[in-house]
């Protein structure tokens, strides 16, 4: 038992970090009504600044003091000062964090203050993608990942003995700091005009104006505080755990979101308690899973630990939600326009024929690119149905695809014949998709985005990391009616056209079916629910089952894409289905036009390794990081300037040009 106590108290440290990050999320939410998914990524950047400054090897000059720059086009880093002390480095890093908070609010979220939730979510995804990919590039450029950085802890490294357990002093120090931050902010918010005004602004923007402070200044101030807190928290945890990574560190936002939601996105005290509790129970759960030998072996190591915050998120938002929004909570939720698709068969025929000709005449690399784009279009189509047509923001589509891919591959390798393995794989994706959709019946907007992000992380932690799915290769070739549909071969024959044509057929049928659904009464109900759930219920539309149908259709599409991936990829590994891929797919679909079929097509064409990549002459690892970084930037710009996406902007431009 004392082991559990020891583990749980050790978890106080990470709990404190989660709590401080969660407090930042609450601050930015209250100031500008956005749940900042990039909060962890912002802290991650600040931590790289700090450790870059302190580290003598980053630029190879053995003098330290290099400041990592997060801007593409500028040099990786600039030299600021020789061999900075801890204090100097910390002051500079937190100063940079303050500037980052200022800039992110000023350039991204201030212009989006009254934008619909989808635009704000997408913009925060853009910031996330951008920071994460830029740092990936910069860290690689600086000569190796976190291993090359010496992540020294700022905190005392002794232990405290409690009975027979030894607990790191740092955990207690961090917990005390987190409590101090919460109490300090609590006092500021209770006693100062700034605090009062921010609380008023959270209720109503005019309320803040009446207190005589501009909502703008409040926004800047809250974002600066949040960014500095995030930076400090990530510096602390990176030093303590000797782990800093552009992706994993950015995803610290998930447990922090859980704490913020458990605290009701409001009180600092409740948020801090929730954060500490999550950290402690995560730590305890690790021990529990390592001890409890009766737990099935297929559970991946650390699976319980990673999925706990997610389960908390889902419970918290489901309990707080309701079947229909209230009269008071109705806000402008304009979503990108969704014109009725026209000439569906003509378009499907022409595009399929063009791609088929490409498959039959072009070389192997082109065939690969066409197949990659075909599959990406299917997965993007799943976002069009769910997010575009029904307004349910889901970040779990890629996880559904991965689920289908792993199950298809595992079953096929174990000897199941061709059509049955993918059918079961897709069925599993649909099942999980509907399961994830159940909370969606009661939550909407931002909260749903967080729930699905949580679900994606849970699927990643509980399923993809499972030993049975780790690195599946040698999936048998699909074969039907004696025709070999296999993709992989040798030499110039590799990336066979037969598989490409099969994938095209799947896509064409899916596209036509989705277009039909969109034009039919089912599609009208989807759009009705998207524009007004109360009015939809008032005309007899079952809002819950309408949403669940969309979840089923969209996870079916993602599952089809995933099953095709199982045959397309030479080997499957969990790294291919990370949450970051889901963000990229949603980002590209939003760019293309989230509520249109052509948006899905554009997303597929632009997908990493797809047709656009081929046109640029192929991609290496860095190029795809650049692509992510640039799509992050473009995403922010599109969210602010043209929320309908490229395809509709182009269509309107064309219409104007024809009239002129």
């Amino acid at each position: 038992m004392s082991d559990y106590l020891q583990q749980s108290l050790t978890g106080l440290g990470s709990g404190a970090v989660i709590a401080v990050l969660a407090i930042g999320i609450v601050l930015t939410f209250r100031a500008s009504n956005v749940i900042n998914l990039a909060h962890g990524a912002m802290g991650m950047y600040t931590a790289y600044v700090y450790f870059g400054l302190r580290n003598f090897d980053l630029a190879g000059a053995d003098r330290g003091g290099d400041l990592v720059l997060p801007i593409i086009g500028l040099p990786t880093s600039v030299h600021v000062v020789d061999r900075p002390t801890v204090v100097t480095a910390l002051v500079i890093a937190l100063g940079v964090a303050a500037i980052l908070g200022f800039v992110v609010y000023g350039l991204v979220f201030r212009p989006l203050r009254s934008a619909p939730p989808l635009a704000r979510i997408v913009a925060s995804l853009g910031v996330f993608l951008y920071l994460q990919s830029v740092m990936q590039l910069r860290v690689t450029a600086a000569g190796g990942g976190a291993a090359a950085l010496q992540l020294t802890s700022l905190l005392p490294d002794g232990v405290v003995h409690l009975g027979d357990s030894a607990i790191p002093t740092a955990s207690f120090v961090l917990a005390a700091l987190a409590v101090a931050v919460a109490v300090g902010l609590g006092l500021v918010f209770r006693l100062t005009r700034f605090g009062l005004a921010t609380r008023a602004a959270a209720e109503h923007e005019k309320g803040a104006v009446l207190t005589g402070l501009s909502p703008d200044r409040l926004g800047y101030l809250n974002w600066v505080i949040a960014s500095v807190l995030a930076g400090a928290a990530v510096i602390a945890i990176a030093g303590m755990s000797s782990k800093l990574d552009p992706i994993d560190t950015s995803l610290l936002v998930v447990p922090a979101l859980a704490a913020a939601l458990l605290g009701g996105l409001n009180g600092f005290a409740a948020t801090t308690v929730a954060g500490l509790a999550i950290g402690m129970s995560q730590s305890g759960l690790s021990t529990f899973q390592a001890r409890a030998h009766w737990l099935p072996d297929f559970l991946p190591k650390g699976g319980l630990r990673e999925s706990l915050p997610v389960i908390l998120i889902l419970i918290a938002i489901t309990i707080r939600g309701s079947h229909l929004p209230t009269r008071e909570s109705i806000v402008e939720t304009r979503l990108p326009a969704s014109p009725t698709p026209r000439h569906v068969f003509a378009w499907a025929g022409v595009l399929t024929a063009a791609a088929a000709v490409g498959l039959l005449t072009l070389d192997a690399q082109w065939r690969l690119a066409i197949v990659v784009s075909t599959i990406a279009t299917l997965i993007a189509l799943s976002s069009v149905v769910l997010t575009g047509y029904v307004g349910q923001i889901s970040l779990a589509q890629y996880a559904f695809a991965g689920l289908a891919a792993f199950i298809t591959a595992r079953l096929a390798v174990n000897g199941m014949a061709f059509p049955w393995a993918p059918i079961l794989g897709v069925t599993a994706a649909v099942g999980v998709g509907v399961l994830v959709g159940i909370p969606a019946v009661r939550v909407r907007g931002m909260a749903l985005a967080i729930a699905t992000l949580g679900a994606a992380v849970a699927i990643e932690a509980l399923v993809f990391s499972a030993p049975t799915f780790n690195g599946i290769s040698g999936v048998p070739r699909p074969r039907i009616f004696g025709i070999d549909l296999g993709f992989l071969s040798t030499g110039a024959d590799n990336f066979r056209a037969a598989f490409g044509l099969f994938a095209l057929l799947v896509l064409a049928v899916s596209m036509v079916a989705v277009a039909n659904l969109r034009r039919s009464p089912s599609g009208l109900r989807w759009l009705a629910v998207r524009s007004n759930e109360r009015a939809a219920a008032a005309v007899g539309i079952d809002v819950s089952s309408t949403k669940l149908l969309a979840f089923a259709v969209s996870s079916l599409l993602a599952g089809l894409g995933g099953s095709l991936l199982a045959y397309e990829l030479p080997a499957l590994s969990p790294q291919q289905f990370l949450v970051i891929g889901a963000l990229a797919i949603l980002a590209l679909t939003y760019l293309g036009g989230i509520a249109t079929l052509s948006g899905a097509l554009l997303a597929g064409v632009m997908a990493s390794g797809g047709i656009v990549t081929r046109l640029q002459g192929g991609a290496t690892g860095d190029a795809s990081s650049y692509q992510f970084a640039i799509s992050g930037l473009v995403l922010i710009v599109v969210a602010i300037l043209s929320p309908d996406g490229i395809s509709l902007a182009a269509r309107r431009g064309f219409a104007r040009w024809r009239r002129a």
């Binding site: 979503l335 039909n516 034009r519 109900r525 998207r530 007004n532 008032a538 539309i541």
Partner: protein, 249 residues
């Protein structure tokens, strides 16, 4: 006349505030019942509670003898309770015709499968053109609600509620923002509804319209019913005159 809607002891409270306090009234089949009262009397809250939008509401609601308690909003709509909203609340992503279609069509569990293959079959045999004609909306059938005047939007809201083929339609200030010509169209339409088998519960501040079309009135004040019955009797009730109609009415 038999009772179509029977409301008894309906009570809605928001925290300490009791918005609707033991409200009981009956709408006879074929009646046009007016629900009047000063601002904040609980008229919209009553409609929300009847339609299942306020899960916290307690009391008993029966439509045609069938209890609606515990049914969700869409189930009450399917049971024959149509409504409009004070804030109109059209589906801005759909055209006017589609707004009516989506209300008129009742899906079955297999509908999505049919829809994926034959998108037009679902709307076959569903006629909303007559309803649009009746409301003078033919010219704007393919327009988006956002392109319409406020008066036209109000009329689309009423037409959409009627497209669900309700037995009782609850209209929340349908004449607000209408010009006199549009109000006249609305008044004629309302008067014709009982003959078409639709009873009406009407909330509005336009007393000419109310006294012109309502054969029954229920008066709410501070969440309580202060009078209910035939229009002629209620409009001369001293309590009603004191609370709402004022000396001159």
């Amino acid at each position: 006349m038999s009772a179509l809607l029977e409301v008894s002891e309906l009570r809605v409270s928001f925290g300490a505030l009791v918005a609707v306090d033991d409200v009981s009234f009956t709408v006879p089949t074929g009646a046009i019942m007016g629900l009047i009262g000063p601002n904040g009397a609980g008229k919209t809250t009553t409609i929300d509670a009847l339609c299942g939008f306020l899960p916290a509401a307690v009391g008993s609601i029966r439509l045609g003898g069938v209890a609606l308690d515990g049914l969700r909003a869409h189930q009450r709509a399917r049971a024959g309770l149509g409504r409009t909203f004070q804030t109109v609340e059209l589906f801005d992503d759909l055209s006017v015709r589609e707004n009516l279609l989506v209300a008129a069509i009742r899906p079955r569990w297999w509908s999505p499968f049919v829809d994926a293959v034959a998108p037009r079959r679902g709307t076959r045999g569903v006629n909303v053109d007559d309803a649009m004609g009746l409301m003078g909306l033919d010219a704007v059938a393919d327009a988006r609600p956002t392109e319409l005047s406020h008066g036209q939007r109000q009329l689309v809201g009423v037409a959409r509620a009627l497209a669900t083929r309700p037995r009782l339609v609850l209209l929340d200030e349908p004449a607000a923002g209408l010009d006199p010509a549009e109000t006249a169209v609305l008044g004629r339409l309302l008067a014709s509804l009982p003959a078409a088998g639709v009873s009406v519960l009407l909330v509005d501040h336009d007393m000419n319209l109310m006294l012109g079309v309502c054969d029954q009135l229920t008066v709410l004040d501070f969440g309580r019913v202060i009078a209910s019955g035939p229009t002629a009797a209620v409009r001369t009730d001293p309590a009603v005159i004191a609370a709402y109609l004022g000396g001159g009415a």
